[in-house]
Homo-oligomer: 410 residues x 2
DNA sequence: TGACTTTGTGCCGCTACTAAACAAAACCAC
DNA sequence: GTGGTTTTGTTTAGTAGCGGCACAAAGTCA
């Protein structure tokens, strides 16, 4: 390479980074509207810490990109003085992200707009093939159908799987109750399926509990939290996730928050990890059924456990079993509080049902067993979003647009 | 307040934020020189992702601020082509941070320049008064003396204490073996002492293990790690710290990484936390002495444990006790790996000595008991810096300068 | 009806960059 | 040596994003 070529190459790189930068307040502004924290340009001005002129220009540019809508008519807030402001909202017919989820009961596809709004859903089938390519092909086919029906532009696609996803390979290490091979290249397979379906935009894959936590942080019970811990149990096993400063903490190889093997009952039942009394085997739906002396029925472990808890909580055997699980869960959460010191905890699946059955008991155990817990106590909440893993998968696909709207769409 | 005053107030705020911002590449550039990652302007150019013109201007400005030095004579790297570059280094007689540390054996004060270089040290006394104000007053007096002797400008002061520090109050919750009252307002007291001594600049207070981790991340065994976990034990109890993306993770109220109460031996000895077999009471120096059947001597638990380990490792009773502790420590670290998934682990105090006694055994236990650990294994290293808590305390004081050199010094 | 409050806009200028050409200082090959 | 190549540093010109400021708009309150 001669000197001229080197100079040109360098110049090209610089040009690209410049174009990719765009107006730097654009991304933060879109994120504020996306998470519902900027209902007007005046609030946007304050939240961004810029002048009104800049906030106005930024909002206008986002509107021109088709991402947000600025009301033509001003609307005064009740009991407010001064000039009424024009409301900001996400655009009605703007672009969408394609979200896909695979779980024990089947799969699901949806289109998710800004603000975490689910625009359209495809029910998906009820059984899961042993071949990931087969399943993901079907899911994407359903998603592509939704895109054709609605005619919306697609910014990218995200997939939620019930498995730890190793970084940076994107392999599913333990696809729980999916009959998929451990170590399946889900990220690569998903990307191939999306490309083959002719859908544009980048693709992303993540663990379902991680993505649920991300969704709850942006649009659900986790809004405003700085250090958010989520713990959830589906049919078997326990999943955890941590959102720090608005970003998922997945660890250096994507395997963080494997919280299932905290010891919560030293003399408890043996766990496949080699230890005893792990959170995983002591607080999942099967543990609940076992504690009640109930045989697993045909309806699914989680459904059965939730139903018994809701309908028969008055019966001593159910109540005792629930309290046992609450105490063990509390012990596990206290351990996590000592290590992570979150400012909010959100529970999903059966753990959510246990919280709702006796919130005081759970909070008391966590406060009692966490260091310095007596002098405060972390808020423990139930998750609030429907299909939060699906919305979280869409968040991944939206992220490039939130980081740099002009670069991703212009 | 009338309209004009409101406009003026707003204008003042905006002006200040503008002045505080300065050249935005200035901070990152200083950090690169500070951590030794930018030996020349050419490297600085590449690391910052800016043009040579910008990197040159930024370096010139940092030199004008008296923070870095640009060699007058170019020096060619061995076996390199092209024009030789001028070396960059931290300024020799530039400003310093005042660092203070309180521990069981006394206290220490030092001046620390950019690059984590200790410029001057005051030995400090050997006993600790029960009154924090008394101790911190003495330590600051020693530091002020150093400042007078050297005549260096001071950018701020940092204090490391062997206790959890609650945020945002800055109280020491468990000042271990200091005979200080739990809940002492150390941050406030320290700030008062610094102000009373006529030392300018902001003040900071943090836990000693946290600060050691920060120092190791910037200047020691943790350089280049993205998710760095540090675990250390002094005389009693175990401390932990986590550095994520170059920033300390202290949790929402400063109490994160209280790793001492992970269960590592279900039928172990009772712990003051109410549980049994906690890492705290199973892997500290006292546990080691107890396992060997040795009575604590007059030299201090840590010193005694380290000496026995170093001098008598060949004796079966010492070796067996060490292996027991290594196994328990490995179990605790594996638990942390499952939750945090760090890409590096650094050990200090007796834990460091245990690692160095039998590194293979410790690594094997961690790999065996962490999920998916067999297919990789986290690097486990000994800490490398002398006085890393002291250097870490200085890092706190340097941080405002690293964030915005012009705003902090101009 | 006017005074006040808040929101939104147009214009000007500053500043931290990029772009591009030039200059300098080493190496190599002949 | 001499010239070409590679890398580093500098100069000059230009620009994008944002702050400062004055003004306009649209409501409430007395």
């Amino acid at each position: 390479m001669n000197g001229k070529a080197a100079t040109r190459g360098e110049a090209h790189l610089s040009t690209r980074t410049r174009l990719e930068r765009g107006r730097t307040a654009l991304g933060p502004a879109l994120e504020l509207v996306h998470t519902g924290r900027a209902p007007t340009r005046a609030v946007l001005t304050a939240e961004l810490g810029v002048t009104r002129a800049t906030a106005g220009a930024v909002a206008a540019e986002l509107e021109a990109l088709g991402l947000i809508r600025i009301d033509a008519k001003p609307s005064a807030a009740a009991g407010s003085q001064g000039r009424p402001s024009h409301r900001l909202a996400v655009a009605e017919a703007g672009p969408v992200a394609l979200a896909a989820q695979v779980h024990a009961d089947g799969f699901r596809a949806a289109l998710v707009g800004l603000g975490g709004h689910i625009v359209a859903t495809a029910p998906g089938c009820e059984t899961i093939d042993a071949d990931p390519a087969q399943v993901l092909g079907s899911v994407i086919e359903a998603g592509a159908q939704l895109l054709r029906e609605t005619g919306r532009r697609c910014v990218g696609a995200g997939l939620a799987v019930p498995s730890a996803v190793a970084e940076p390979e994107g392999t599913a290490l333990n696809p729980l109750h999916l009959a998929w091979p451990a170590g399946a290249q889900v990220r690569e397979i998903f990307a191939d399926c999306v490309r083959d379906a002719g859908i544009e935009g980048p693709t992303f894959t993540g663990n379902d509990v991680n993505l649920a936590a991300l969704a709850e942080h942006r649009h659900g019970a986790g809004r405003g939290a700085r250090d958010l811990l989520c713990v959830a149990t589906g049919h078997r096993g326990v999943g955890g996730a941590l959102v720090l400063d608005g970003k998922l903490h997945t660890g250096s190889s994507g395997l963080a928050l494997e919280v299932g093997h905290l010891t919560v009952r030293p003399e408890g039942r043996p766990c496949y990890c080699g230890s005893r009394g792990c959170l995983d085997v002591e607080t999942d739906p099967l543990a609940f059924l076992t504690a009640m002396g109930v045989e697993p029925g045909p309806e699914g472990l989680l459904q059965q456990a939730r139903r018994l808890l809701a309908e028969h909580y008055a019966e001593p055997v159910v109540r005792t079993a629930a309290e046992e699980l609450i105490d063990r869960l509390g012990l596990g959460l206290a351990g996590l509080v000592n290590i992570l010191n979150p400012d909010r905890i959100i529970l999903g699946g059966l753990h959510r049902a246990l919280l709702e059955a006796d919130p005081e008991r759970l909070r008391a155990v966590v406060a009692d067993r966490s260091l310095w817990g007596r002098s405060g106590g972390v808020p423990i909440l139930a998750c609030t979003l429907d299909h939060n893993s699906l919305v979280g998968a869409a968040e991944l696909a939206w992220q490039p647009v939130l980081d740099d709207p002009l670069g991703a769409l212009g």
